[in-house]
Symmetry: C2
Subunit: 206 residues, 2 copies
DNA sequence: GCATATATTAATAAGATTATTAAATAATAA
DNA sequence: TTATTATTTAATAATCTTATTAATATATGC
């Protein structure tokens, strides 16, 4: 059963589960299907992860971590504010580009399963608070210098997140209604990063 | 069983189904639960709509229509380009504000169910094409006049959609991780419309 | 090799879900 | 009233799901 000796069956199951969860979400994925695709007995899925819920948690935790890091990504370097913003946007965009299905899973499960919302809060509750405070401070300095217009951290954060997220959330819809080929869509993804940076930097101008 | 004589049982079932589908999506909503909440026998749900799929289609079609209208909304009036953009953004935002759960349903089902993607395409395939062409034309005129920077219709449309959508898609997450009260969140929704218009208009500047 | 632990499978219990059917009830028209 | 149609219900078939269990195969240490 083990095709690749480097991968344990447990890992194989986890990876298969991740792919399916990312593809169709929690509810539409069954442990039976996970086992079928992983090429093992269905009981084995439960042997390693006990319940479907725990298996999902393992997948979700990893992806939530990625998402949060994409979101809270800090830039320490000694560069101008404009360059800091640019870097922040680009790093977030790159993480999303490398994990294009992750936003779907994230929003889908947090919208449908309140339990997971609470888990998320426990995990990052105060992380965000300090993140916002720091951002507020940086913004205040720039606003007082007159280099950017008055603007709250919440609004800037929402703008960045919005622009970066939607392309990936909407990609299946976009591809179909605009009749784009995969390569056309790939080049849209490439060019969109620059556009997002432009929009955000222009939106900051006084 | 009929509490309100103005509403037929069929309508009641449809409305109940809509609420539940919007809340939890297709997969997590059962016809049994729809019947329980509508206060009728489960077989009745099937009597009126035959299958769960058809019932969902009825709900989805209505909501997809709303979404598309939010998206393709045209502004005919004889006003400046800047005012046209402002109106477009505001109208779309208002439709989303009036139907805050609709984007979740829309993206969730189109991401998980390819069948529905094809239905959507059939319905609006060429509508979008002419919409994009018109937008390209309007943009070209302004770009040649030098009133806005070079910019594709796709990018402008994506920017508008991104900014307007994400607040509603992310509302459950946002509320929880920022500890906002409902009234605080409500006022964020109010203020965000102005901010989106500002960002978009600034992003158009040469 | 043998004993022990680990991994894997087949079988199945328990419960939920969609959909159908036949019977009962309510509404309507003649 | 009575016949006919529309609405509603109870019962249930068929299928699928998660999860458990006991039995089998495989690996590991001694």
């Amino acid at each position: 059963m083990k095709q690749n000796p480097d991968t344990t069956t447990e890992q194989l199951i986890l990876e298969t589960a991740e792919n399916l969860f990312l593809e169709k979400g929690f509810a539409l994925t069954s442990t039976t299907e996970i086992a079928r695709i992983a090429g093992c007995n269905q009981a084995l899925v439960h042997y390693y992860f006990r319940t479907k819920d725990r298996l999902f948690d393992a997948v979700f935790e990893k992806n939530a971590g990625l998402f949060i890091s994409a979101f809270l990504q800090g830039v320490e370097e000694n560069i101008s504010f404009e360059e800091k913003v640019r870097k922040k946007v680009e790093i977030q965009y790159d993480i999303l580009k490398a994990n294009p299905k992750m936003p779907f899973l994230f929003f889908n499960e947090l919208n449908t399963n309140p339990k997971r919302l609470n888990l998320l809060k426990e995990k990052i509750g105060n992380l965000t608070k300090s993140f916002f405070l720091q951002m507020e401070n940086e913004l205040r300095v720039e606003i007082e210098k007159g280099t950017i217009r008055p603007m709250t951290a919440m609004n800037l954060m929402l703008t960045i997140l919005s622009l970066n997220l939607v392309l990936f959330l909407a990609s299946p819809v976009l591809k179909v209604i605009t009749d784009m080929t995969d390569t056309e869509f790939q080049s849209l993804i490439e060019s969109r990063k620059r556009e997002n940076v432009t929009v955000i930097l222009k939106s900051l101008r006084p």
